[in-house]
């Protein structure tokens, strides 16, 4: 090396290769690139929209994603919590959001207790003293058109009506000839406010029936031939507009059409989905029917299929016991629009809340 040569050697040229496929010589994106980017953006936007819709759906319905419309409803709920502070509860009803839960109790003070969704009691429903001193609230239902709360009373053979927060309004006064005495027990409303009542009148069961009233209390019809029903308890109007009745002492569910024709039954027995002593009943907006099977200490779940009178058995939840998630003579059952199921657990003196 020549000592007099002080010029440092040239650094080797870095080799940089450019992908010219996404841009032309002027550096602009190629049509293919643009198309690809647009696709990615569209996908991202679609995902965001879906997420937003899901979030909006959740905000409105407050239900788990498993309850999305279109997904199978053939599932069973899980235990969530128990509400205490009631004595021998029988009937239960909940408003759409589940922040008012009405529970009838057949012992102790024999009032209707009102709870919030955390299980804290917020009030009671009691008829005025003018209606008598001896009361025995049995079943409770909420009119979907007025939000008024209806309570059947076994001691006075009456139905008392309260406003949602608990103020007594009036005693239900049927319009029409009931054919003598009546003994209202189970209550249900159709979406139009029509009231369906199970009637256990008489010293024998030969005259037990279901009576339907219009929104104004006008007697519309009577269902159940003489001797057909025996202590009908819970009653619901399902998504097919059929009337499903717990024919309790006959150990079955009877499904009537709106015209009072008996369409099918879920029978008593020991097979899958068979019943022992059904009492309360409820439907949810996913098309499920819940039936409290009192002597089997569990709740049976069925799906109501469009156009089919006979529900399809899904399964049962609960078992006999005192621990969380077990029952001692469950009686009433109710649902809200947030995928909750409420069950009165009579001998455990509590209301259990299950959910999806």
């Amino acid at each position: 090396m020549n000592k007099s040569d002080t010029t440092p050697p040239a650094a080797p040229e870095a080799t940089v290769s450019f992908d010219h496929s996404e841009s032309d010589a002027a550096g602009e994106a190629t049509p293919a690139t643009m198309k690809n980017r647009k696709r990615k953006i569209a996908t991202l936007v679609a995902l965001l929209v879906i997420l937003a819709l899901l979030f909006a759906w959740y905000l409105v319905n407050r239900k788990p994603l498993s309850e999305l419309p279109g997904l199978s409803e053939a599932r069973l709920p899980h235990y969530e919590l128990s509400i205490y502070g009631t004595t021998k509860p029988l009937g239960v009803a909940a408003n759409a959001t589940g922040d008012r839960i009405y529970v009838t109790e057949s012992d102790g003070e024999r009032v209707v207790r009102v709870y919030d969704r955390a299980g804290k009691q917020t009030g009671t429903l009691k008829p005025p003293s003018s209606t008598g001193k001896n009361h025995l609230p049995m079943y409770v239902a909420i009119n979907p058109t007025t939000q008024e709360v209806y309570v059947s009373d076994r001691s006075t053979s009456a139905i008392y009506i309260y406003e949602a927060k608990g103020t007594y309004l009036r005693t239900f006064a049927p319009k029409g000839d009931l054919g003598g005495e009546w003994a209202p027990l189970g209550l249900a409303f159709g979406p139009d406010g029509a009231l369906y009542v199970t009637d256990v009148r008489g010293t024998t069961s030969k005259n037990h029936r279901v009576v339907a009233f219009g929104p104004d209390g006008t007697l519309l019809s009577s269902m159940g031939a003489p001797g057909q029903l025996s202590f009908p308890n819970g009653i619901v109007v399902d998504s097919n507009n059929n009337i499903e009745v717990s024919d309790s002492n006959n150990g079955r569910m009877v499904i009537f059409s709106q015209l009072g024709k008996m369409l099918s039954t879920i029978s008593r027995g020991i097979g899958e989905g068979d019943l022992g002593l059904p009492r309360g009943a409820a439907v949810d907006d996913a098309g499920r029917l819940f039936v409290a099977d009192t002597t089997d200490h569990m709740v049976r779940v069925y799906s109501i299929d469009k156009g089919k009178a006979m529900p399809t058995y899904i399964g049962s939840f609960g078992n006999e016991g005192q621990l969380d998630g077990t029952f001692e003579y469950p009686n009433g059952v109710a649902t809200d629009k947030r995928a909750h199921v409420y069950v009165t657990d009579r001998e455990n003196n509590r209301v259990q809340v299950w959910g999806y």
Binding site: A74, L76, K88, L90, S106, D107, K133, N134, L136, M138, R154, S155, S157, A183, L185, V200, R201, T203, T204, S205, S230, F231, N233, S248, N249, G251, S267, R268, G269, I270, G271, E272, G273, D274, G276, L277, R279, T294, T295, D296, H297, M298, Y313, I314, G315, S316, F317, G318, N319, E320, G325, E328, Y329, N331, E347
Partner: protein
């Protein structure tokens, strides 16, 4: 807790269950969550024999009291009974063959199982807990277990002219009105299945105050239905008439129970129409019961013959016999008030086997069967009036199932 099917009924139950045609209903395992794909349950073949034969005194094996307590057996000698129609699935409402949680294969213990219908009235018109017919203010004849509607403080009577020859003053028109608002009971047959009580007077002369027993609804009533009034068992469980055979050791044969004979059973004939309520608790009889059903047979261990008063209606005729299968030494005939029985405690006794309609006393003249709200507030300190000698168990205020406050029942008949 005593089993519900003891005594003759137990023997009959065994007879039906093991010696005739059997019905076993099985479920697999414990159930926490079910789904439609659960293992299939196996149903063992069973037939139903007509093993329930009682001394009916002319009343056929008809079924009493309606509802779920009617068995499907229509009459003895019926052939070709279709099992599916004979109530096979009804058994599963109350029984489990292998996973029962209460004695005698009951799914659940009494009385909660019974209260599912017989309290609040969701499944029966007789609310025996509150003592009223469900849906009404009408009072049940037997009172109630938690409350009763006996107007025990409002009893009245009329007094007739004095008979100067006999010295007696007639009493007429006795009335114990019913209450529309029930009151808490002050005594009851304790049927919770866990609290031991005493069957006062149970046993032969000299056997003490009585046997300790634990009662349930099924001790007195047969939930399967029979031909008796109020489906009363012909022989109440835990009465003195039946000694339960001990479970035999392996390789040995069981001992035959001491007395299990239809001759000792008591027929309380069924009513022709069912009337569960009363407006006057002095009128204990049920006019719906047929008359003159004949002798019941059998003899109480105390030597007093069972009531056979032919002048009474069937219910009155035999109800004292029925009650005294447990309260043995309370069965007393005419003259018992002045003739010593030979028993140190139950020495002289008020007659209890008569037709009260003729002016003489019967068990149910003074007592109700389920529970009474009569007040017992007049008990001088240190005075054990109403308490048996040596008995310190009866709580203060115990009304002993009497119909009138403060032992006013006596004054309903007697003028003092």
């Amino acid at each position: 807790m005593q089993p519900p099917f003891r005594g003759a009924a137990h023997g009959v139950f065994l007879n039906m269950h093991e010696h005739n045609v059997h019905e076993h209903i099985e479920r697999n395992g414990a159930r926490v969550m079910r789904n439609g794909s659960r293992a299939v349950k196996k149903l063992l073949f069973l037939g139903i024999g007509s093993a329930l034969v009682f001394t009916m005194g002319g009343v056929g094996p008809a079924q009493a009291d309606n509802g779920p307590h009617m068995s499907s057996i229509q009459a003895a000698g019926t052939v070709g009974v279709v099992i599916a129609n004979a109530g096979a699935s009804k058994c599963a409402s109350c029984h489990r063959a292998h996973t029962a949680q209460a004695e005698y294969l009951l799914k659940q213990a009494q009385p909660q199982l019974c209260y599912t219908c017989h309290q609040a009235g969701a499944g029966a018109t007789t609310d025996v807990v509150n003592g009223q017919r469900a849906g009404t203010t009408q009072a049940l004849r037997g009172g109630g277990f938690k409350t009763a509607a006996i107007g025990s403080g409002k009893a009245t009577k009329d007094m007739g002219p004095a008979d100067l020859v006999t010295g007696r003053i007639a009493t007429l028109n006795q009335t114990i009105p019913a209450l529309t608002l029930p009151a808490a009971t002050t005594s009851r047959h304790q049927i919770d299945g866990t609290t031991a009580g005493t069957a006062w007077g149970n046993g032969a002369n000299g056997s003490g105050l009585g046997k300790s027993i634990t009662l349930e609804c099924g001790s007195c009533h047969d939930p399967h239905g029979n031909g008796n009034y109020r489906i009363l068992r012909p022989m109440p469980n835990d009465s003195q008439w039946v000694v339960k055979a001990a479970v035999p050791a392996v390789g040995t044969t069981p001992a035959v129970p001491a007395v299990m004979s239809p001759a000792t059973n008591v027929v309380v004939p069924d009513a022709t129409a069912y009337g569960y309520t009363t407006a006057n608790y002095w009128l204990a009889g049920d006019t719906n019961v047929p008359t003159n059903v004949g002798a019941t047979g059998g003899t109480a261990l105390s030597g007093t013959a069972k009531a056979t008063d032919p002048a009474g209606d069937g219910y009155i005729q035999n109800v004292a016999s029925w009650c005294t299968t447990c309260h043995t030494r309370y069965l007393a005939g005419s003259g018992s008030y002045k003739t010593a029985s030979g028993d140190a405690t139950f020495m002289y006794r008020h007659r209890s086997n008569a037709n009260y309609k003729a002016g003489a006393a019967n068990c149910i003249t003074c007592h109700v069967s389920h529970g009474s709200n009569a007040a017992m507030t007049v008990t001088p300190a240190g005075d054990n009036v109403g308490l048996l000698p040596g008995n310190t168990a009866a709580p203060a205020g115990d009304s002993h199932l009497l119909r009138v406050d403060n032992r006013g029942t006596c004054v309903m008949c007697h003028n003092v």
